[in-house]
Structure formats: structure tokens, C-alpha cells
């Protein structure tokens, strides 16, 4: 070993001891992430834990820590209104999921066919997304009103026995809400799908044409399976909206007729604030959370657990 090598070696040893602490590495990035960390921990984890804890108490108007075990849950699951709410949410959720996908994708596919006036159609399909649920609910309440709206118009045209009054018929009221919900949200799904379609390699289309595959078959067998990430994004957006559906119902039917269009979120709010039974509301929201987890965890496992990626 030469002298220089020795010198380098000793310097090396001296520097080796000075490995900087991991904690302070990327300090700025960590500091900048504080809002995210706080939100995640304090709001999302903290508040959820708080809510779950208090769902086991008998809190009324004010939270208090007097535990009563599963009482609130027993009561919850023996309440007809809650059961109807859950049923409604399930129907609404499944239908709006399917319809959003079908309508959103179909419209996107139609728009992607290099048509004239694409911008006009796209704007028409998308504008409802700009409106609040309150507005959406009001307008559709108005249009579906049997005395002024579609039913009356059709009757004026001479079809006297025509009946279309979803908002006043307890059996189908949830579909009346669905009409408005789809109207409001499917445009956004369409945009996401359109963006996804535009991202597909042109050559795939060409390959399918050379193979002589009809257009619809290409969509079903080739394009749709390729758009998995897009569908996942859309799924996240739609489901997170479905669980929270509240404003729309309040504005359109207030849960009526009767309790035919009640939804869980509304049950929670009313139990917490109107019936002044906080713990019951908390129990209901815990159940909502649980149902979210039941859907999310397997999905998250499939998405991130199976194949590790950066």
C-alpha cells in the first residue's frame, strides 16, 4: 500500500463514523409532510378512533364515557329505518356503480370515435358535475314532480294514464334519486374514461382492425381489460361518493316518501343531532366505516399487496 492509499484509508475511517442520522435526512421533506401526517393521524385515524370508542357509550347530546357494550349496535340492527337505509344504499350503490361505468364508458367510447362537435357533447355531459347535489336534487325534484314535470307533460300530449312519479312512490323512489345521481356524476366518469381511452396505444386499434375484430368486440375484449387502472380510479371516485350520499337525498326527498329513501349518512346525522343520541349515530357511522373497509381492504390487498411496486 502506498502512502497516499494509507492517507485515504485513514480519512475514510474518520469519515465513516460520521454517518448522518437517518432521522434528519430529507428533513425538509418531512417537515413539508407534516400537514399530511397530521391529517392522516389526527383527523382520519384519531377522529375515527374517537367515534368508534364513543359508539360503545350511552352518550346523548354530549359525549360522555359511560360504556354500555354493544347496546347501540343491537338497537341499530333492530331499527327498521337503519335496515331500509342499508338496503337503499346497497341498491343505490350497485346501480350507480354499474350505470356510471356503463354510461361513462359508452359515452367516452362514442366521443372517442372522432366525431364532430366532440367539445359540445363533452361539455354537455360534464356540466352537471359542476353543480352541487343540492341543486341537482332540487332540479330533479322539480322535473319528476307528477303535477308539473314529465308525467304531466306526457299526459298533456294525450297519454292520460301515463304514470311516472318515482319520487312519490316508495317502491321506486331510490331510482328517482339514482336518475339524479347518475346525471350529476357520470360526466366526470366519462372524462376519466375518455382520458383512459386516449392513452391507449393506437397500434392496438390497428392490430385489431388487421385481425378483423369488430369495433364492439375490440372494446369488450381488448380495450376494457387494458383500462384496469382507469377503472380503479373511477371506482375509487364513485364508491367514495356513494358512501357519502346525503345532500342529494335531503334535497330531493328528505328520505321520503315515508322512510323509503333513507340512507345511512342521513341516519347518522339525524341520530346525532336531531334525536340527540350521539352514540347511536356513532354506532351507525362505525358500521358505515366497517362496510367501507370490507370493500376496501381486499381491494387494497389485491392492488398493493400482491405485487410490490414503487
Amino acid at each position: 500500500m502506498t502512502l497516499a492509499d494509507n492517507a485515504a484509508q485513514s480519512r475514510a475511517n474518520e469519515h465513516q463514523t460520521k454517518r448522518p442520522s437517518r432521522l434528519f435526512k430529507n428533513m425538509t421533506a418531512k417537515v413539508a409532510s407534516i400537514p399530511m401526517v397530521l391529517t392522516a393521524l389526527v383527523v382520519f385515524v384519531g377522529c375515527t378512533a374517537w367515534t368508534i370508542t364513543y359508539s360503545f357509550t350511552n352518550s346523548r347530546l354530549l359525549p360522555r364515557l359511560e360504556f354500555v357494550g354493544w347496546d347501540q349496535y343491537d338497537r341499530l340492527w333492530s331499527t327498521r329505518r337503519w335496515l331500509i337505509s342499508i338496503e337503499n344504499l346497497a341498491i343505490f350503490g350497485i346501480c350507480s356503480l354499474i350505470l356510471s361505468f356503463v354510461i361513462g364508458f359508452t359515452l367516452a367510447a362514442l366521443l372517442d370515435r372522432k366525431i364532430r362537435g366532440e367539445a359540445v357533447f363533452r361539455t354537455i355531459f360534464l356540466y352537471p358535475f359542476a353543480l352541487s347535489f343540492i341543486v341537482t336534487g332540487l332540479v330533479w325534484q322539480w322535473i319528476l314532480n307528477p303535477d308539473f314535470g314529465i308525467q304531466q307533460v306526457v299526459r298533456d300530449w294525450g297519454w292520460e294514464s301515463f304514470v311516472f312519479d318515482p319520487l312519490n312512490n316508495a317502491d321506486i323512489v331510490i331510482f328517482g334519486i339514482l336518475i339524479a345521481g347518475i346525471w350529476q356524476g357520470s360526466g366526470f366518469i366519462m372524462v376519466i374514461m375518455l382520458a383512459g381511452l386516449r392513452g391507449i396505444d393506437e397500434d392496438i386499434w390497428k392490430a385489431a382492425r388487421v385481425d378483423g375484430i369488430p369495433t364492439w368486440k375490440t372494446y369488450v375484449l381488448v380495450i376494457i381489460p387494458m383500462m384496469r387502472p382507469v377503472f380503479v380510479t373511477a371506482l375509487v371516485i364513485i364508491t367514495s361518493g356513494i358512501i357519502k350520499v346525503y345532500d342529494l337525498v335531503v334535497a330531493q326527498t328528505s328520505g321520503g316518501p315515508g322512510i323509503a329513501s333513507e340512507v345511512p349518512a342521513k341516519y347518522v346525522i339525524e341520530k346525532m343531532f336531531q334525536s340527540q343520541n350521539l352514540a347511536q349515530g356513532f354506532a351507525a357511522s362505525t358500521m358505515m366505516l366497517l362496510s367501507v373497509l370490507v370493500v376496501l381492504i381486499p381491494w387494497a390487498y389485491l392492488e398493493f399487496g400482491g405485487k410490490k411496486r414503487g
Partner: protein
């Protein structure tokens, strides 16, 4: 017999004319390479032949049948894309059989054809895998297989190797050539890599700005380029050019003058012109003395490439490329004697840039 015939083909995207009055005849079983710089319209032409783009004017015949208005799937062509365009969620087998199933080919016939294609391309062990689990070269082979099972007469390849690394490219190039020898189909092959063009083609069509500059065999194109563009485009490193004046039997560049003996002029050798000489046709050192034209120069830069070495020198103020054997000992700043013969050179008219 003509396999593919293109007559007066025009194609515009809106106001942009990409192909203009293009004519091209391709023989049965021929391997034709379309070579040209990026954006010259190669892919566009291929897409027109495949029926993926609609001609603005002109006609296309395949096997003497006018297919101008036919659907791609009815034209009897198979196509291989640069990005492979494999259906990602289907297995290799699914990719190969998808088109056939759709054409309602009987099951056993499908199985037979897939098996044959898999055998030819040596992808039998991969049949159950999805494209995502294949390497680049394997994907490429599956893409070729998809064209192969269609049992067509004409294959169209759009830069099928340009996404691969050099080593794989060399290997697959040989495979494609062998495949052609084995099957005897007509192949139209787009590339902008001239090594591919030279090694694969029966004939090369050199394109520029939507028109064909020269359509000839590789050696013809290499040795007797029709114009300066072709001469410059083909060959790596590129041909050396001198700008000067032709005057009967001599070519004058500044103070120098070279004899044009041995060169067969197609036109009267007079007026301003370019002389071009390929780096590999320049001799150095002792062997230079045997050449009719000799010059003294200085080595500027040496690039050893293993089997041979590139030498950069300066002649008449221009950079001058010479290719010598890899074992030759040459160092930068050495003086060097170079020699070449007009017989191996090319002369082009200075104005029209056409071969003289």
C-alpha cells in the same frame, strides 16, 4: 407477378400532403425495405397498404386485386407494429388465435396454425404466458406470430426491431431473414436503420418527403446511389463529399485536382459537381500508394471499434472519414497518406444533386 402494386398514391392529413403520387411495384416473394429519415412517410405508406389509412387518391392492388376500398382484414396482409401492440390481457396463444376465432376458422385449424407459427418462431414454451411476462425479443416474435397465423401473402413490418437493444436486434434480424427464406412471402419492412435495410432487403426503397428517391438492390444503392441524398443517407459513417468542378477527365476542388479515370459517367462530365467517396474505399499508408488519387493529411481523431478503426482527418478544409482495419496502429496528430480511386467514387450534379 406483382404482389403489391401502388399507383399514384396521394395521402394528405388535412392540408399536409404526406404522400404524393407514389408508385411502387413489389414482386411476389420479395423482401422490400422502406428506408428513410423520421417523418418521411414510411409508416403512412405502410398503413395505406394495410388499409388502416384511406388514400386521398390513387389505387392499391394486392395480388392483382384492387383493394383500395377493402377492409384491412380482407386484404390478405399481416402487420407487425413497432410497439408490438399485443393484447396485454390475453395469453400468447390468445393473441395468436384471436383474429382466427373472429373469422370463425374451425377450432382444429386454429390449433394447427398456432402450433405451426409457434414452432417456426420457437415460442412453444411461452404459449400460456401473458405478454407482460415476456422479454422484448419474445414479444417481437409473438407479434410476428400473429401475422403469421393469418396465412397471408404479404407481411408488413413497421420498425419491428427499433425498441430492442443492439444485441437482440442483430439476432432477430437474422431470424426475420431466415423466416423470409423459409416462407417465401412478400415482406414490406419499414426501418430507419440502414444496417437492417442493407442486410435484409432484396430491394430498398429510399424515401424522402413522401416520395421514393431510389428503388434498387442494396448493393446498387450502396455503390451507385441515384442522388446525393441517397449517397449521404446510406453508409455509416457517411460518405465524404468534395464540392468542386468537373472538367472532362478531372475534378477540381480548390487547389487540388483529381483524375476521374475509371468512373462511368451517365451524363457529360462538366460543370459544378460533388464528388463522394465512402470511408471504407479510402486506403491509407502503403496501400494508398497503389491508388490513382493520393493526398497527404493529418489524423485528427481515432475511434477504434474493435474489428476496424475510424480515422477522422481533414482534407481541403473538410472533415474526412476513413475506415481502416482494426489492427492498424494510428494515433491522433499523426500525418497520414490517403488514396482512393474515382472508380469507387460517385459524382453528383451540384444543382440537381443527381448522379452524373
Amino acid at each position: 407477378m406483382h404482389s403489391v402494386e401502388i399507383k399514384d398514391l396521394d395521402l394528405s392529413f388535412g392540408a399536409v400532403k404526406v404522400l404524393q403520387g407514389l408508385n411502387l411495384d413489389i414482386h411476389d416473394g420479395e423482401f422490400l425495405v422502406l428506408l428513410g429519415a423520421s417523418g418521411c412517410g414510411k409508416s403512412t405508406l405502410l398503413n395505406c397498404i394495410a388499409g388502416l389509412l384511406e388514400a386521398t387518391d390513387g389505387q392499391i392492388f394486392i395480388k392483382n386485386e384492387n383493394v383500395t376500398w377493402k377492409e384491412p382484414s380482407e386484404r390478405g396482409i399481416g402487420m407487425v407494429f413497432q410497439s408490438y401492440a399485443l393484447y396485454p390481457q390475453m395469453t400468447v396463444e390468445g393473441n395468436l388465435s384471436f383474429g382466427l376465432k373472429n373469422a370463425r376458422v374451425p377450432k382444429d385449424e386454429i390449433a394447427r396454425r398456432v402450433a405451426r407459427a409457434a414452432e417456426i418462431l420457437r415460442i412453444e414454451p411461452l404459449l400460456k404466458r401473458k405478454p407482460g411476462a415476456l422479454s422484448g425479443g419474445q414479444r417481437q416474435r409473438v407479434a410476428i406470430g400473429r401475422a403469421l397465423v393469418r396465412d397471408v401473402d404479404v407481411f408488413l413490418f413497421d420498425e419491428p426491431l427499433s425498441n430492442l437493444d443492439a444485441k437482440l436486434r442483430t439476432d432477430l434480424r437474422v431470424e426475420i431473414k431466415r423466416l423470409h427464406q423459409q416462407l417465401g412471402n412478400t415482406i414490406i419492412y419499414v426501418t430507419h436503420d440502414q444496417v437492417e435495410a442493407m442486410t435484409l432487403a432484396d430491394r430498398i426503397a429510399i424515401m424522402k418527403g413522401g416520395a421514393i428517391q431510389q428503388l434498387a438492390s442494396p448493393s446498387e444503392i450502396y455503390n451507385r446511389p441515384r442522388n446525393k441524398y441517397v449517397a449521404d443517407f446510406i453508409g455509416s459513417p457517411a460518405m465524404n463529399f468534395f464540392e468542386g468542378v468537373l472538367d472532362g477527365g478531372t475534378f477540381r476542388v480548390g487547389d487540388l485536382s483529381f483524375s476521374t479515370e475509371g468512373y462511368e459517367f451517365e451524363k457529360a462530365p462538366s460543370g459544378p459537381a460533388f464528388m463522394g467517396i465512402r470511408p471504407e474505399h479510402v486506403a491509407t499508408g502503403d496501400s494508398a500508394t497503389a491508388q490513382p488519387i493520393q493526398l497527404e493529411s493529418t489524423v485528427e481523431l481515432v475511434e477504434p471499434m474493435g474489428s476496424d478503426t475510424l480515422v477522422w482527418a481533414t482534407v481541403a478544409g473538410e472533415r474526412f472519414r476513413i475506415r481502416v482495419d482494426g489492427q492498424t496502429e494510428i494515433r491522433a496528430r499523426d500525418p497520414i497518406r490517403i488514396g482512393f480511386s474515382a472508380a469507387q467514387a460517385s459524382f453528383f450534379d451540384a444543382a440537381s444533386e443527381l448522379r452524373m
